[in-house]
């Protein structure tokens, strides 16, 4: 039975007091900071730029398509950018004279977009400039965790010590052993579903019940095993067994809504920051939440050189405010945290706060996407109808390149996400030739027989890949926007060629009939895994943050989101963002208690 627990009553915002810590942002990073710091006894003020949504009434996960007037599509005065629009022009992508009331990033072009139209930002209000970049942002309580893809993976020393292996970039200032205990804490506190494989390069989590593979996926797994490769059930940041310590979240009931929409789980079996982290933090009595708070600047006390608080404006009234704290923790998302630091200029920090190294904004990296494959499992054609989508995801194929081998064309590696089997509405119906009863039967017979997967590859962090503040363009709130200098290079191109080729080889080896191999790279940003721009490091000359995500220059300033990542790895970053934030915030609490700050 599903019991919904109402969010806790909000605590009065008091801008006259000095909080122990201000947390900027309420997604995976900000939420985790709030959880850990309040757990450690600190008084925390969380500032979120967007509004608090009644998320259950937004997501309506179980609404049938035919019960919605537009079968789940958003109103027709709104527009989602197409891949072509990202290709033919540079940002900003929503011209001032756009005939649409709102213009959204490409994720609003998926199905069921009426359910996420208030979560994803309107590009008209949030412009950016420079090179092509498909930047997906969600300004609301919980940010992108409200609709994330749920794939929850660990990094390993193949990632943390990648430079030692291939010479490119920098090693992280931590190793897997430093982070493993915090990955464990995240697993146990939030719940994760998966199957232990014992891989050195993709360490296992403390898994709850794995979701099962379906017949065609098991067949592919068996085939890949013979080539010493692994296909494992989707490692989902979803609680399949439930969490006794969290009254706001239900366990997964396999409703299968996860992939029919941009995402989102209205019973919160999939992790989201509000129910997973923020509401429990509010229940400690030590978290104050202020939404509609657009932070423009981290203020510094010239006498001490330390961060003294932040300046923000109200997103609705435009009124300006300042608030003080003993420590400032940025978790506004990769790029947005960096934007705030770049905007926090002063005589002592002319290039932006914490930018004595000149590396702030640089070493920008992410995952490249594009190559994918669609195949037909002939054994499954005409088989009895199966229910294949009652789970948070299909499968994951961990990296296999540049582990023991050395690829001539590219450094680092890639993984695949995929799934097989039937969905609510048949895939590829209109692609099958014919019409009439025979075509109708063919669609029915083939509906459960398709299998597909797509690659996610590591993009190398380069100093030349960076963002800066645009000198002229401002957003709706008058805050200067980011200008991108970021383009894929030969390493990504070669890697993508290899992705398409190995995908085809793996399907063919399994006897899957290959229907289509997509070979093109998607626009930069497409993976929504932007990382770097304020990297950690041991050397203050070449990094922005130390190993506890503290600014080398301003010790009571932390950046706990993906901005801090030294390299992208090819694993989805959310779980690592939260493990790092946990570790850094425990350390911050410790330092505050000892008076070290």
């Amino acid at each position: 039975m599903l019991l919904r627990t109402a969010p806790p009553a909000p605590k009065e915002v008091d801008l006259t007091r000095t909080y122990d810590a201000i947390v900027v942002g309420s997604g995976a990073a900000g939420g985790m900071a709030a959880h850990v710091l309040t757990e450690q006894g600190l008084e925390v003020l969380m500032l979120e730029a967007g509004k608090k949504l009644d998320i259950e009434s937004e997501l309506k996960s179980m609404e049938w398509p035919y019960d919605h007037p537009r079968r789940g599509e958003m109103p027709y005065d709104r527009h989602a950018l197409t891949q072509n629009e990202y290709t033919i022009r540079n940002p900003p992508y929503a011209p001032k004279d756009s005939p649409y009331s709102s213009v959204y990033s490409y994720v609003q072009g998926w199905s069921g977009t009426d359910y996420s139209k208030n979560i994803v930002v309107n590009e008209k209000d949030h412009p950016y400039t420079g090179t092509k970049y498909a930047w997906v942002r969600a300004r609301c309580l919980g940010g992108k965790t409200n609709i994330w893809g749920r794939l929850a993976l660990r990094l390993s020393d193949y990632d943390f010590k990648a430079k030692s292996r291939d010479g490119f970039g920098e090693d992280w200032p931590i190793s897997y052993a430093d982070l493993a205990p915090f990955y464990d804490k995240v697993d146990l506190y939030l719940g994760i579903s998966g199957h232990a494989e014992g891989l050195e390069h993709l360490p296992d989590s403390k898994f709850q019940r794995a979701t099962r593979l379906n017949a065609s996926e098991v067949m592919l797994r068996e085939s890949m095993k013979r080539a010493d490769r692994v296909l494992t059930p989707y490692r989902a940041g979803v609680t399949t067994d439930g969490l006794k310590h969290n009254k706001y979240r239900s366990r997964c009931f396999g409703r299968g809504a996860c992939n029919r929409r941009a995402g989102g789980c209205d019973i919160h079996a999939a992790f989201d920051s509000p129910t997973g982290l923020i509401y429990p933090a509010q229940d400690t009595g030590r978290l104050t939440l202020r939404t509609n708070a657009v932070v423009r600047e981290v203020m510094v006390d010239p006498a001490t050189g330390k961060a003294s608080g932040v300046a923000f404006s109200d997103a609705e009234t435009g009124k300006s405010y300042e608030v003080k704290a003993k420590a400032v923790v940025l978790g506004a998302s990769t790029l947005e945290s960096t934007r705030i630091l770049l905007l926090s200029r002063s005589a002592a920090h002319p290039k932006g706060l914490g930018n004595s190294s000149g590396h702030l904004g640089h070493n920008f990296c992410e995952h490249v996407m594009g190559p994918y494959i669609v195949g037909l499992v002939k054994d499954r054609v005409g088989k009895a109808r199966t229910l294949d989508d009652g789970r948070p995801g299909g499968f994951y194929v961990p990296r296999f390149r540049n582990l023991k081998d050395k690829q001539p064309g590219f450094l680092r590696g890639y993984g695949f996400e995929g799934s097989g089997g039937a969905t609510m509405m048949p895939d590829r119906a209109a692609d099958m030739p014919g019409f009439g009863s025979s075509w109708k039967k063919s669609v029915r017979d083939h509906a459960g027989a398709f299998i597909d997967m797509g690659g996610f590859g590591e993009v190398l962090p380069r100093y030349e890949s960076y963002v800066e503040i645009d000198p002229a363009v401002k957003d709706k709130w008058g805050v200067p926007v980011l200008r991108f200098h970021y383009t894929f290079t030969d390493n990504e191109k070669k890697m993508c060629e290899d992705m398409a080729q190995t995908a085809q080889e793996m399907f063919e080896a399994a006897g899957v009939e290959v229907l289509h191999v997509g070979k093109n790279m998607l626009t930069e940003g497409w993976s929504i895994h932007e990382l770097g721009t304020a990297r950690m490091g041991s050397d203050p000359k070449t990094s922005v943050l130390n190993s506890f995500q503290q600014s080398h220059d301003v010790k009571n300033l932390l950046v706990v989101d993906g901005s801090s990542h030294v390299s992208a790895s090819c694993q989805n970053p959310t779980w690592t963002i939260m493990a790092l934030a946990w570790r850094s915030c425990e350390n911050l609490a410790d330092q505050l208690r000892k008076g070290d700050l």
Binding site: F253, M425, A430, F435
Partner: protein, 179 residues
């Protein structure tokens, strides 16, 4: 094929839905759509039923209200937005092209043909679906994509045709054990 009672009833319904050609009075009495003109709506309805007909397995596009749904969607798309003005214009062209092909082949409009003749028209328009070139081929391609989208997201498409059993609370996902 052994049919049970329910299937026989469905089959009978399917046959009944393959309507004979309209005469002039009937064509004049067709109801107007929200966006589509009466004849356009009727052509779309007939074309959708040819593409996804009622059969022994399940009801077809007509029973699923495909044409009415597509018409309502078009009506909701404000033509002040160039994308929708273009789409509205193209839809009219697609439907006119099917009617024109019927006149070329049988000297009668699509609605006035017998069921077999309509099938012949659709077969001709479908011949180039891999790479549609003529207006009728483009019209068919459009109609097939839209009919599939509307039908498979309808109550009939999801529950009766595809027999989808999900979107319910499951105690556990039934799949194969990962070995």
């Amino acid at each position: 094929m052994k049919l049970d009672r329910r299937e026989i009833l469905k089959l009978a319904a399917g046959v009944a839905l393959a309507r004979p050609g309209l005469d002039g009075a009937e064509a004049a009495a067709l109801p107007e759509g929200k966006f589509l003109k009466a004849r356009e709506l009727a052509v779309l309805d007939e074309l959708a039923e040819c593409i996804l007909p009622a059969d022994a397995h399940s009801p077809g596009a007509r029973a699923a209200g495909v044409a009415a749904f597509l018409d309502a969607q078009l009506a909701a798309k404000d033509p002040k937005i160039p994308e929708w003005a273009d789409e509205r214009k193209e839809v009219r062209e697609h439907l006119a092209a099917i009617d024109a092909l019927a006149r070329d082949m049988f000297a009668k409009g699509f609605l006035e043909l017998t069921a077999d003749q309509r099938t012949a028209v659709v077969a001709k328009a479908a011949a180039g679906e891999g790479e549609p070139k003529t207006p009728a081929e483009k019209g068919f391609k459009w109609a097939k994509e839209q009919t599939a989208r509307a039908y498979y997201s309808s109550k009939i498409g999801i529950h009766e045709e595809m027999e989808y059993k999900g979107n319910v609370l499951l105690t556990e996902f039934v799949g194969e054990e990962a070995k």
